[in-house]
Amino acid sequence: MFARLVKESFVRNPRRKILTAAALALGIAVATATLSVALEVGDRMAHEFRSLGANLLVTPQADTLPLQIGGVDYRPVNEGAYLNVSDLGKLKMIFWRHNILGFAPFLDVPATIEGRNQIHTTLIGTWFEHNVPVPDGSAFQTGVRSTHPWWKVQGRWFDDDAKECVIGATLAANYPGGIAPGQSIEIAGRAEAGGAPAHPITLAVTGIVATGGAEDNAVLAPLALAQQLAGHSGQFRELFVSALTKPADAFARRDPKTMNETEYDRWYCSPYVSSITLQITQALPGTEVRTIRRVADTEGRVLSRISTLLWIVTLAALAAAILAVAATSAATVLERRVEIGIMKAIGASNSLVSGIFLAEQLMLALIGGAIGYVCGVVLARALGESVFGSPAPVNVLLLPIVLGIAAIVAVIGSLVPLRRAARLDPAPILKGE
């Protein structure tokens, strides 16, 4: 009997129902779209920020201070400590290995370009794209392509296995007689005072690189060549790491030594800069890991502000949608006072009347909510596509949440006028007062 009453009430006057459901659907679409974006945005923006390049710098603990001015390293080759390339695969075995998006080892060798007049410069050995064997048997392709994506090269990058090099923009501009991709240079490691002069090697120039840093005055070449010139086979001095991190919050800023066991586990298992730093130090003993504050700070500041902003905007939009939906529900009940009066006059109890109306509102909320969820998901995907180039994954968990919100809001919106209607005497309502 109750079901028949509800069905009758639901099917009658479809135009009015459609409008109510439309208001509900639009409100829920706002909620779904904004929630989907807000839930996703931290991860996606963090990925975007990796275009700033490396955010961590790994150096040997016992290293001497680098002495480099204008691209020329004044530190003798044999001074200072080195790290082993063969250990680098271990970086992809740490707990947050998937957050290590790339790394590039660097070895600077004081060098001289041979020719009519000798040019003193630094040969920077690194990888452009190199396959690093990982202890679990796989290989990881990495190099400056992922740690320094903003280095612009005119021509092309060197091949990691060839005798090729890329020349810094300033050095190229000032090169006697000029130099362009396609030519080649003869370069030798600078002889130590009293040592035998080194044999020069010939490198084909493949490109000119502009970085705005010390590299503009240097020659960039595959790491293996730099190792050969320096006589440090399989070694490097600095490692730039690009890691996906979570912006530091109050918890991340605490000293891990003061944490109890559960807090420490939570800290260790969160991709904070500090916990990834610790894990790299554990994987590569004898190193010191420093945060490149310029990059990490910018990322942290912008990311935390963007996600706070989007959450506030989402909550505001949600609140507005809720109020609109509640208003629609309230209006629907308010306008049907005559019907309520008739029902009560022919003997319906207050709870039956409320029951019928609430059931009807719930059905509307669920239908409108489901339509709104679909629209919201489509909109969120379109937004992800246009901003980040790939659509946001559908978050199915949001469906019960937004349906719940729709149901609660519709019920609360109708409860107030229903309670007022329950107190009313049917006679004056039927008289139209």
Binding site: I119, H120, W150, G212, A214, R305, L334
Partner: protein
Amino acid sequence: MMFGRLLWSLLRGNRGRLAIALVAVISGATVISALLNVEFDIGGKLAQEFRALGPNLLIAPRGGIQTEDAGASAAALMDETTLAAVLAKVPPAAMVGSAPYLYIVARVGDAPVMVAGTELQEARELNPSWKLEGAELKGGCIVGRNVAQRMNLKPGAQFEIKYLNRASRLQVDAVLDSGSAEDDQVLAPLATVQRLAGLPGRVQFEQLRAKGDAPEISAFAGRLSSALPGYDVRPIPQATQAEANLLKRTRLLVGSMVILILVLTALCVLATMAALAMERREDVGLMKALGGSIERIVALFVAEVGVLGASGGAIGCAIGVALAQWIGERVFGASIATRWEVFPATIALMTIVAMTGALPLRLLGRVKPALILRGE
């Protein structure tokens, strides 16, 4: 006159129902005006955050090539007064700040250390990400953390640096953690380093941060370049291109969210108003039965919701401005500039939306009043 009186009694007679509609309009207007205010101001606010990336332009002498083993050689240096004269003419709106640098490899005790001569206060303002541990800068030097560790220097300590046959005593004002090359250097006042090197008035390069987006920065670099013949003005791509791309991405994200919410909220208010208007069919039927023309009746109801939209829009705008201010304080720690053009835009939008919502009442013109009054 009659229309006004009818409208007034319509508004007074339906206070409960109108209050509900008003809530919907106000909440929509609040969100829309707050978002518009935030959107207009967010570009500047975000650009401010990207300042932490540090300098984005570099002025260096042309022909800075090394053919001999030496520290700073006079040939590849720039004149400090020429630079200062050109930079002094740059309007503050175009530039955040600049700092000159002169490097030498000096000795502290027996160990060689890189000493960078610079204007410490300027350099610090240019690099907001630098973390300084120690007292305020008061004429001493800043020591990179690796240097401080190796030489066992703490803020307040004093040490002597030697270069060739000259020496200078410096006090440590602060220890610097930057995560980049400066950690391995001593940053000392420029005049001290120039005196030690015997190169008064000379600098190796100047770092600066220009304001604005990528094209503005390259235009600025072009102007500087023509004002400084013989010097190279180079952008630092990390702080120009990468930053510009990220800024664009972030703005696009916030912008599309704002548009999405704006459109959906407006539609949601529209549907709410339409649902409310449909509830008035009995009133329409009654008026029609009493002999009113459908045009006149619809005009009356449209005027009613128009008043509702305008007043709800105005109230919502005021709340929205306060919300935008709160968002600014909460998110950026700075207030959001109120854009007054948001007021008429939001009020107009809400009025139009409310009035459009009432238009379906026209459909009732075809319906016989008796049917409506019978409740069908």
